[in-house]
Symmetry: C2
Subunit: 293 residues, 2 copies
C-alpha cells in the first residue's frame, strides 16, 4: 500500500471524487452534482475527510482556469458562463480545508495524462489527446507531462482549411466562427443538422465532414508536434465507425511527406483506452506527480 491520494474530475455537471493508494487503482469514489462552489466543494471536502486524510489532491477541472503561477488568481476559475463559478478558488479552498497540496490542471490535460501514461498511449513519449463533445479540446503530453507554456493549449480553436463542399456553414464559435470547434463540436453538428448529432444515423453525411476535419487536424498535429499517437475521445467520438475515414483524411493531407509507416495505421489515430475513468485517473496522477516533484 502506498500513500493515500485524492483526485477530482471536476465537470460542469458533476464532480467525480476518488481516492487511491495504488497507481491506476481507484479505492473509493463519490459523484457529487455541480451546484454552487460552496455546496459542491463542501461535499467534496467531506468525502476526502471521511476517506482520508489524503496526502495530496489532484484536480482536473472544467475551465477556463488561471494556471499561471505568477498570477494572484492562480488556482481559480476564470470568467465562465457557469453561474457562481467565476473566480471560484478551487485549489485554495481545497488545500486549506484538507491541509494538503493541491495540483490543478484542465480536465482535458488530466484525461490526456491518464491516457498517455495508463491508457491508449502507454509507453510513448509524445501523445496528443483530443476530446470532441460540447467543446473540442486537446492536451499535448510529452514525457508523461502536459505541455504548458504561456497558458494551456486550446487546440479546438485551430483554423483549418474548409472542405470545398462545406463553404456555406458559418460555424458556431463565438470567437472564431469556423474554427475546428465551431465546425465539428456537438453544438456545431446540431447547428448543421437542426437536431442533436446523437439522433443522426451513423451513415449521415455529417459524419464524413466531421471525419474530414479531424483528419486535417491530426495532420496539423503531426506536422507541429510529431506525436507517436493521437487519441480521440469525447461524446462525438463514440461513433467509432468514423475512425477509418479520419485516418484516411490525415494520410491524404500529409500526402506522403511524413515518412512513417504509422501514418494511416490503426495504431496512430485511436480511441481512448480508459473510457470514462480517464479524468479521475488523471487527477490522481496530478496528485502523485506533485508529491514526487
Amino acid at each position: 500500500m502506498g500513500r493515500l491520494l485524492g483526485g477530482i474530475e471536476a465537470g460542469g455537471t458533476k464532480f467525480v471524487c476518488v481516492t487511491s493508494s495504488e497507481p491506476g487503482v481507484i479505492a473509493s469514489r463519490k459523484v457529487i452534482p455541480t451546484t454552487t462552489p460552496e455546496e459542491t466543494l463542501g461535499q467534496a471536502i467531506t468525502f476526502f475527510r471521511e476517506q482520508g486524510p489524503v496526502e495530496a489532491l489532484g484536480v482536473a477541472s472544467f475551465g477556463p482556469l488561471v494556471l499561471d503561477r505568477a498570477s494572484p488568481d492562480y488556482g481559480r476559475v476564470a470568467a465562465t458562463p457557469k453561474p457562481g463559478w467565476t473566480g471560484a478558488d478551487l485549489s485554495g479552498a481545497l488545500a486549506r480545508a484538507l491541509g494538503c497540496p493541491v495540483a490543478l490542471d484542465t480536465d482535458v490535460n488530466g484525461a490526456g495524462l491518464a491516457e498517455a501514461r495508463l491508457g491508449a498511449g502507454r509507453g510513448l513519449d509524445v501523445v496528443v489527446y483530443i476530446t470532441v463533445g460540447t467543446g473540442l479540446g486537446g492536451g499535448l503530453i510529452v514525457d508523461g507531462k502536459p505541455v504548458q507554456g504561456l497558458t494551456h493549449p486550446e487546440m479546438g480553436h485551430l483554423r483549418v482549411r474548409r472542405h470545398p463542399d462545406d463553404l456555406d456553414f458559418k460555424g458556431v464559435c463565438p470567437f472564431h466562427g469556423d474554427c475546428l470547434e465551431g465546425l465539428i463540436s456537438g453544438p456545431a453538428a446540431q447547428a448543421r443538422l437542426g437536431y442533436p448529432l446523437n439522433d443522426a444515423p451513423l451513415d449521415h453525411p455529417v459524419w464524413s465532414m466531421i471525419a474530414y476535419y479531424l483528419g486535417e487536424f491530426c495532420a496539423s498535429l503531426c506536422l507541429i508536434a510529431s506525436p507517436q499517437q493521437i487519441i480521440l475521445g469525447g461524446g462525438v467520438m463514440s461513433n467509432l465507425a468514423i475512425f477509418p475515414a479520419i485516418r484516411a483524411a490525415c494520410a491524404s493531407a500529409l500526402n506522403g511527406y511524413v515518412q512513417s509507416d504509422a501514418i494511416g495505421s490503426e495504431t496512430f489515430i485511436t480511441p481512448p483506452g480508459l473510457g470514462d475513468r480517464a479524468g479521475a485517473l488523471g487527477a490522481l496522477l496530478l496528485a502523485e506527480d506533485m508529491l514526487s516533484r
Copy 2:
C-alpha cells in the same frame, strides 16, 4: 575547463565544425565546403582529431535524416536531392573515426535548442523556433529538449487558410502546393515576384502576405503547443520590419481567445538572439546532453 566537446552544423553548402570546453563558448572553428560525404566528413574528422580528442560530438544536420533509433538506417541521410548524400552514414562514420558518441538531430532542432537554452528563449519551458528561408522548418523545445515523437516536426508543411486576396497563387511545394512552405519560403516568394525576394523593396506587398501567413502560423502554434515564445529566424526573417505585422496578424487570428498579455507583445514573437552561431552552439548542446544522459 570542462570536457572538450565537438559540434557540426552540417548544411547543404558548408559544414561548420567547432569545439568547446565551456557551455556557449566556441574554442575553435573550421568551415568546410559540402562536397561529397567522403571528402567533407574526412576533413571534419581531421579537424576534430587535430583539436581533440573530443569526448562527444553533436551534429545538427540538413536532412531529411533517419532519426528513428529502431531503424537499421538510424543516423543516415534519407532520400535527398543533394547528389551523393542519400544514405550517407553521418553518425556512424563520425563515431567510428573519432571513437566517441555522436548525437544527431536536424539543423532546425539544433538551432532551436540553442535559441531556447542560450538565446532569445533562455529560461523558458516551451519555445518554438522557426526558420524561414529556402525551406520553412520549426522545432518545438520543451524543458530544453526538442520534442521528437514519431519523427521530427515538419511545421513548414502546415496547411493554413488562404488570405482572401491571395487565392490565385498555387504555391510551390511539390508535396502540398500551398502549404506554408509552398506559400512563403524564399522560392515561393521568388515564384510570386519573378525575381529573388532579396531584390524586393522592404515595403513591397509581398512582405505583407508573408507577415499575414506567419501570423496565422504563430496563432496555430499558440493554440496547439502554447509556447511562451516563438522565435522566427532564417534568411527571409532578416527583414525585421515585418515583425509588428506578424504580431498583429497572430493576435487578430486568436481574437482575444487566449487570455495572456503576451499575445501581440514584442516578447512573444521575436527574432533570434544568437545570429549565425545558433546551429553550431546547438550541435554542442546535443553533444553535452548526450554525455549527461
